[in-house]
Subunit: 142 residues, 4 copies
């Protein structure tokens, strides 16, 4: 079972939208990447990092690898808890790991490796401020 | 300017997700239909109506008409206020009207006409309970 | 019934993808805006206009109004015919109108009004070349 | 480098849609799961398997695992070649592997593990016909 590092973990809540389901009556598997993305934007915000202002300044954190395991379906209107944490912090990349829970039940796990790029889409080292924030716990910035 | 009936109005907040933008750097125009949908599900919930339980019971409210006007772009991470109200309540259909605000600024307006159908996709009259709830103000159910 | 101007009309084929459906088992209503968009990009291409090269040059045609009427559901894997034509051609804006057909059956109609903007998101007059192309029939460019 | 088994491979073409991009100006990473899905539906069709008729009959092949590696961005209007093949064929599950090419350049690779379920969302063995088709080359059915 995937274990998230406790000191890095934040829990972000997402309610499943109607359009995120498919004809199987469950959440479409691509929607989980969207939930992961929403969760990591919020994870960053809770540590004082505003991803939108980076993006408008040309600094991006594109996903370079993603892995997902689907254990049990999510359904329309479910309120999902997305546990999110950072691992594998390096000079130009790091990884977010995720667990999606509905109550006590783990529906899915996953990870995304992100690289830091500039406005010319070249990989660049993270700033010291970014690296520090990525190592911080949630309560540091609040 | 679109005026929403005050006694029917609810305001639902949505934060723009990264994937809802497009290469113009703004929210893609189809995303607004998704915001409208999220807003009306919440509108219904605040009046004691659980759309998910209807849907799992085979009662649906498909969109049969939609209209949108885009005045000013929304951007990634914006927290949008979606004003939502019901109008034109009839035996088998009604209309939701919407205004999307960012602070004081109205970014978009729209409406969706919904019909009531059963699990065989046939149009059917709304139940008395549904019609009553659709006429109710937000505070009635709380 | 919506009638498209014959001399402007192109027919673009789209196959419904699995993720475009929702838990009702039919195509989600927001997907039709995506089909319209795919159809007008192809409409432009058939008249010698490459929307991607405009976009990379900072010229955009954002949707400023949209209207949709849904008559009958589309389903996964359906091959839809999207009839597309230009109307209401003006100095800074014009309208695409659409009919979505499955065989002989019209499933939906709609229109989108587009404005011409520059890379600062300011409305600007269309170039003469663009205006000419928007008035052209499909076979002119081929 | 990911190598696809030649005797199982099909190549499916997908043109990038405007809405599949994001504010980075490139295709959003979740869109690749959608391309994979479109490719495997077409892969099945070329071997005489109609996934839509299975789905309407209650047999589904949900994704239970997915992996993606993103090497180089895809952009609006790119015509992508999606190489698709089956591996790891077992009694109740199998894997599709994918390479997304733009001309000679490999933009992304990935795989999805699918399980066979019935209309009660229970995992069931594949039918002999399905297993045979999954082992077949593209030209067998044509």
């Amino acid at each position: 079972m995937l274990l998230l590092p406790e000191d890095s973990k934040s829990v972000v809540e997402v309610r499943v939208r109607f359009n995120e389901t498919d004809l199987m009556g469950i959440v479409h598997h691509a929607s989980y990447l969207v939930y992961f993305e929403a969760a990591r934007v919020e994870w960053l915000r809770r540590r004082g990092m505003n991803y939108a202002s980076w993006a408008s300044g040309g600094v991006h954190l594109p996903v370079v690898e993603a892995e997902l395991k689907y254990m049990s379906p999510a359904r329309f209107d479910d309120v999902l808890q997305i546990e999110t944490a950072v691992t594998d912090l390096r000079r130009v990349s790091f990884r977010f790991v995720y667990r999606i829970l509905l109550g006590d039940k783990c529906l899915a796990t996953g990870s995304t490796k992100l690289a830091c790029i500039n406005d010319k889409h070249k990989i660049v080292p993270m700033s010291a401020a970014m690296a520090a924030a990525l190592s911080a716990g949630e309560n540091v910035a609040n």
